[in-house]
Amino acid sequence: MNCEQATRLMSEAQERPLNLKEKTELKFHTVMCSGCRRFGEQMTLLRRFSRASGQKDKSDSD
């Protein structure tokens, strides 16, 4: 598995559950590849940012 394949799987993981083979191969790759490891973390952040964006200018605090 190369970085392009790994990042593609990490994006798909946001859309569907990965199967065991995919998960295992991805794990092997990310253990050794810091770039892809960060990419995976950033995918989670992108989703969090997007979902928070409706409330981005916080005018009423709790």
Binding site: C3, S34, C36, Q42, R51, S53, D60
Partner: protein, 191 residues
Amino acid sequence: MDLAASELQTLRDKMLSFARLQLSDDALAEDVVQEALAGALKNADAFARAASLQTWVFAILKNKIADALRNRYRQPELESFDDECKECGSGDDQFNNKGHWQSHSSPQRWDAPERLIHDQHFWRVFDTCLEGLPAEQARVFMMREFIELSSDEICESLALSTSNLHVLLYRARLKLRQCLEGNWFNRGTSA
């Protein structure tokens, strides 16, 4: 509910800019915002239990935008989607010909991402990056991540295959990530 006119105006402006970004259609954006506000006021009882007015109206607004998007794509005017996608599967310049990160594009550490939710400068960069995506990528990304439609719903309303959708989302995320890193997280550290 007690709400000063100025507060309502501010809220309305935020809703409008959000809706415009999603729909790229000012008139339609005005309509959905109006409907969302009317819906929110009509259900003021439910709002009394909600955490904040803004959260509440934005939840309604998202639904209205989702409806508007579904309606728009029910008329299949965008038959170009499938064609676009043949190209979006091709190699990206962030990877070399072996499929490994180019040295300049390998993801770097993002510092303190949690603080950014309330940082207006960050959101300006975020919006600019989003607007810089190819139109069809931006559209599916927004439908998926902002409006929170399911993959199935998006495929159905755009007549896209699942694999096409995945490729479009992948391309969008790849570019958005790179843009945020270059223009926010690593700004000033590289050319």
